[in-house]
């Protein structure tokens, strides 16, 4: 782990330094939920089951897959998920 990178805020500090998380979904009905397979073995098995559960709760499921679990998701993939989904589940499985 490298040294923390700390900078001085150049602004009036009226905005939060860290953005709050988005509000949690109240319902899955009609929501498109992305399932991101990080490409670790058997992650798909886990996500298959999650997909069934989500579908039965009324969600539309979209499946995505990272090229490799060793690297962050490519920016195109992240943007695609952000545009297409109301929520995303990322599965880590071994």
């Amino acid at each position: 782990m490298s040294e923390p990178r700390i900078f001085l805020d150049p602004t009036s500090e009226r905005r939060l330094a860290q953005r709050p998380r988005l509000a949690r979904l109240r319902t899955l009905q009609g929501v498109t939920v992305g399932l991101l397979d990080i490409a670790k073995p058997r992650g798909d098995r886990f996500l298959d089951r999650i997909a069934e559960r989500l579908a039965s709760a009324g969600a539309t499921v979209q499946r995505y897959r990272k090229p490799t679990f060793t690297k962050p998701a490519p920016i195109d993939l992240r943007q695609q998920i952000a545009v297409q989904c109301g929520a995303v589940v990322e599965a880590l499985a071994d």
Partner: protein
């Protein structure tokens, strides 16, 4: 430095030494002599080897290998000898000067076997390899700005863009180390309030200006100019809020006068309004970043400019005083020549006047006048000020004819008296123009004092330049000059 956070000094005689200093080695027996003979107690702070000097009892030695005591008490040389009473330094000697050491300590036979004089060595606390880190370790507490820590996977530059800190160009990331180095450029305290910055009307400290100056790419020696510019911009006369909010393409233009121009490497010559000079560009940019980040003035929000202009990234230049036939611009605002000043003008982008044939001042003044008449619209009188930037080759024509700046300005005003019939609404088949009631009047293009003349630019080229202004006077903005303080 905040006195409360600095380590106190013991009373009596206090010496700072390091083993690596030959003069400290020479002085070591003297320190032992002081420990036994002086009436005041002795403390020896050792910067590199806590066992040094062996001649002094361990109880009288203090470990300052962290350099905290040396740094806080501004020790620049070793050996340094202080006399301290009630925790307050009374006297200070640097290096070894026998007579002075005897006088300060009251020990008559001190160092009788030593040479009379030996220069000291640099204190480790000011070692150029260590000083920046020490400044952060011991000095960062004086910085009050919120710390922003990036997540492990965040790219620094992307993080700066994502947080809206930049004008669209990359910035220098404002680390504690860089901001502390920037603050060394001014004698002002970091928490001094420089101005209340529009549009959010936020009190802006020297520290916040320094942070934005780092981001703009300034060197510490530019900071006094930036501070004066921020102050000038945020006056009610200059009206930064209105200038930011206007749909017109104007923004602060900074003109620097005085010896500081050359001291910090500003460019008044070739390509004076263009790229290539760090001081010109980063000073102008620092002001814009302060307005953006501290004031909250961003395009599309309070900044409503229809077109804007490239100078809204940075537009700052010095006058070429040395080559000028005239008094500097600052003297038109009441400052003695030789005073360091910055003048803020609400200006648009510069445009060129080409006149390669006039060799007499009357002809050249007429060229200037017909071009100046077009500022914003040839049929609009009195509303807008302008800067006329005269190049060295054009200025030579006036120099040789003996025209001072007042004579040129007076002639331009005469040539720019506009006949009402030509400029009222509808005249020339153009709806824009002065109100009908002025049809029989004669109106000046510029108000008195509304035409500013500066001398700058490269040595070759029979061109001058116009920087048009914004709505002038109380309804808009008035140029403001501020002295640049150290």
């Amino acid at each position: 430095m905040d006195a409360a956070s600095r380590p106190p000094l013991p009373n009596g005689l206090v010496a700072f030494v390091k083993r690596a200093c030959p003069t400290c080695e020479v002085v070591a027996p003297v320190l032992a002599q002081l420990a036994s003979e002086a009436s005041l107690p002795l403390t020896v702070y050792t910067q590199d080897d806590p066992a040094f000097p062996v001649e002094v009892q361990p109880a009288a030695r203090a470990d300052d290998t962290s350099l905290e005591v040396s740094w806080h008490h501004q020790i620049e040389t070793v050996p340094t000898l202080l006399r301290v009473e009630h925790g307050v330094e009374q006297e200070r000697l640097v290096g070894w000067v026998r007579a002075e050491w005897r006088a300060l300590t009251g020990v008559a036979g001190l160092g009788s076997g030593l040479p009379e004089w030996r220069p000291g060595c640099g204190s480790l606390s000011v070692d150029p390899d260590l000083a920046p880190e020490l400044a952060v370790r011991f000095g960062a507490a004086k910085l009050r700005a919120r710390r922003v820590e990036l997540a492990a996977l965040e790219d620094e530059m992307e993080a700066a863009y994502a947080r809206g800190w930049t004008d669209g160009l990359p910035i220098t990331m404002p680390t504690e180390k860089r901001v502390l180095a920037m603050l060394a450029g001014t004698t002002r305290a970091p928490q001094d309030v420089v101005a209340t910055v529009p549009p959010d009307l936020v009190e802006c400290t020297v520290e916040k200006v320094a942070i934005n100056a780092v981001m703009a790419g300034c060197k510490p020696e530019y900071l006094p100019v930036v501070l004066a510019a921020v102050e000038a911009a945020c006056t009610s006369e200059f009206n930064m809020h209105g200038l930011l909010a206007t749909t017109m393409p104007t923004s602060p233009v900074l003109i620097v006068n005085g010896p500081i121009r050359r001291a910090i490497g500003m460019n008044a010559g070739i390509n004076v309004f263009g790229q290539g000079c760090r001081a010109n560009l980063t000073i102008g940019r620092a002001l814009q970043l302060v307005v953006r980040n501290v004031g909250g003035g961003r395009p599309g929000e309070v900044d409503r400019a229809t077109f804007g202009n490239p100078g809204k990234i940075a537009f700052c230049f010095p006058e070429d005083e040395e080559g000028s036939p005239w008094t500097p611009l600052s003297s038109d605002f009441g400052f003695a020549p030789g005073t360091n000043t910055v003048t803020l003008f609400p200006g648009e982008a510069p445009r060129s006047i080409v006149d390669q044939l006039s060799r007499d001042p009357e002809s050249l003044a007429r060229s200037f006048a017909v071009c100046l008449r077009t500022v914003h619209h040839p049929k609009l009188p009195l509303v807008f000020d302008a800067i006329l930037a005269v190049s060295p080759e054009h200025a030579r024509v006036f120099r040789e004819a003996g025209w001072d700046k007042q004579k040129l300005i007076a002639r331009l005003h005469e040539l720019l008296m506009l006949h009402g019939a030509e400029i009222v609404r509808g005249a020339g088949g153009i709806a824009e123009g002065a109100p009908e009631q002025f049809a029989n009047a004669t109106l000046p293009k510029f108000r008195a004092g509304g035409l500013l003349v500066v001398h700058c630019g490269g040595g070759a080229g029979l061109f001058s330049s116009i920087i048009g202004g914004w709505a002038n006077g109380a309804i808009g903005s008035t140029p403001v000059t501020r002295e640049i303080a150290a």
